[in-house]
């Protein structure tokens, strides 16, 4: 399990560097709000955040905060890398790979060791940030978008968590597992498609 987490964390570091490319969530969504909506409206990012939210919600209370903080720290690290002009080529693929692992863990509903859980949350944060690099706009505008994406990604995870933690009944927990299997399947398929094209 620790090796798996290590691999997930190492993925972003192994990515080759390329020019940044921006992709607003939809036409007209720019600036802070465009960044904030990015994790919600870009399907690959939504899969990753939703998977992580479900995984954190499945864990015991003492694990939730460290995981959420690791995720926020990962976002910070990723965005710091972008500000330092680091733009990886396969950030979406890395995000999907980590999301597939996280979602599969949700479907399996096994207790995850705290270190593994935190490393996975950190990896989701880093890869999500690296996948959100704004480009073709001024530095000032890009910074606004980055702040927006950070806020959006944190708020989205928090919102998912708020919903998941109230699930106590058995059928609700099973529903989370089923959703996890759907997310894992989607992530695997999209990842394969991106690698194969």
């Amino acid at each position: 399990m620790r090796r798996l987490a290590g691999l997930a964390l190492a993925l972003p570091a192994l990515l080759p560097i390329e020019d940044a490319c921006a992709h607003p969530p939809f036409a007209g969504a720019t600036g802070f709000y465009g960044g904030a909506l990015h994790p919600l409206f870009v399907p690959t990012q939504a899969i990753a955040v939703l998977s992580l939210g479900l995984l954190i919600g499945q864990q015991k209370l003492h694990l939730r905060w460290p995981m959420a903080l690791a995720y926020a720290a990962g976002l910070g690290i990723g965005f710091a890398a972008i500000i330092s002009a680091f733009a990886p080529q396969f950030s979406t693929e890395a995000l999907l790979a980590v999301a597939a692992i996280v979602a599969a863990l949700v479907a399996l509903a096994r207790a995850v060791p705290w270190l593994t859980a935190c490393v996975l949350a950190l990896a989701v944060g880093i890869t999500l940030a690296l996948d959100s690099s704004p480009g073709g706009i001024s530095v000032r505008e890009a910074n606004v978008v980055i702040v927006g994406t950070f806020c959006g990604a944190v708020i989205l995870l928090w919102a998912i968590l708020e919903v998941v933690v109230i699930f106590h009944r058995e059928w609700q927990k099973l529903g989370v597992r089923i959703l996890g299997s759907w997310l894992a399947a989607s992530a695997i398929l999209v990842l394969t498609w991106r690698l194969a094209r």
Partner: protein, 195 residues
């Protein structure tokens, strides 16, 4: 009586929709809607997915929900094979066979050990996923498309489970088993059309 009628209607619907043997011909292309429509336009896929849910209902909770968890995960592996282009012989035959086998399991109210049921479902999931992956339209938003067809597949499972919950009543049990028999017959029809 009402349950019998409802199940009878479902059976008639399933048989009526089982006309074309070539599945996965959704016309909508691209995006979430295209992916969502894809399994729904393939009658062989529809009956097999519903059968998974119905069979799960006979297995009872919590195994009832294990099959819908196993299926998408393994289906994704099959889908990956289809996307990459790995040849998988007789995929359409296996899909037709899945309707027959799963239909018979429901019709006979089979209650094998969970691992046996999961293995059978997983084996067929590979072929269903393969068909989806191999037919992913070019130029499609793969993420939205995949989410769409995984969601539709999952909802078909849940529909099967929902219908299967009527097994707690004798009439419902009979109706569900009858639906299983109809699904097996539909599978035979798919097979016959492929021959």
């Amino acid at each position: 009586m009402r349950l019998v009628r409802a199940n009878l209607r479902a059976t008639v619907l399933l048989v009526l929709t089982a006309i074309p043997a070539v599945a996965h011909t959704g016309d909508l292309s691209g995006g979430f809607l295209g992916g969502f429509a894809h399994p729904l336009f393939g009658p062989d896929h529809v009956v097999a997915m519903v059968a998974v849910g119905l069979w799960g209902a006979f297995l009872g909770p919590p195994p009832m929900f294990v099959l819908p968890i196993v299926f998408p995960l393994v289906m994704a592996v099959g889908g990956a094979l289809g996307i990459v282009g790995v040849p998988l012989p007789a995929a359409e035959l296996a899909i037709a066979a899945s309707a027959i086998v799963l239909g018979l399991m429901v019709a006979s109210a089979a209650r094998p050990p969970l691992w046996v049921a999961a293995t059978i479902v997983a084996a067929f999931a590979i072929f269903h996923g393969y068909a989806h992956g191999a037919e992913l339209p070019a130029g499609t938003d793969a993420a939205a498309y995949s989410i769409g067809f995984v969601t539709a597949t999952g909802l078909l499972h849940l529909a099967g489970i929902g219908l299967g919950l009527t097994v707690r009543w004798p009439a419902g049990r009979m109706g569900v088993r009858g639906t299983g028999a109809a699904i097996a017959c539909a599978g035979l029809l798919f097979l016959w059309r492929l021959a």
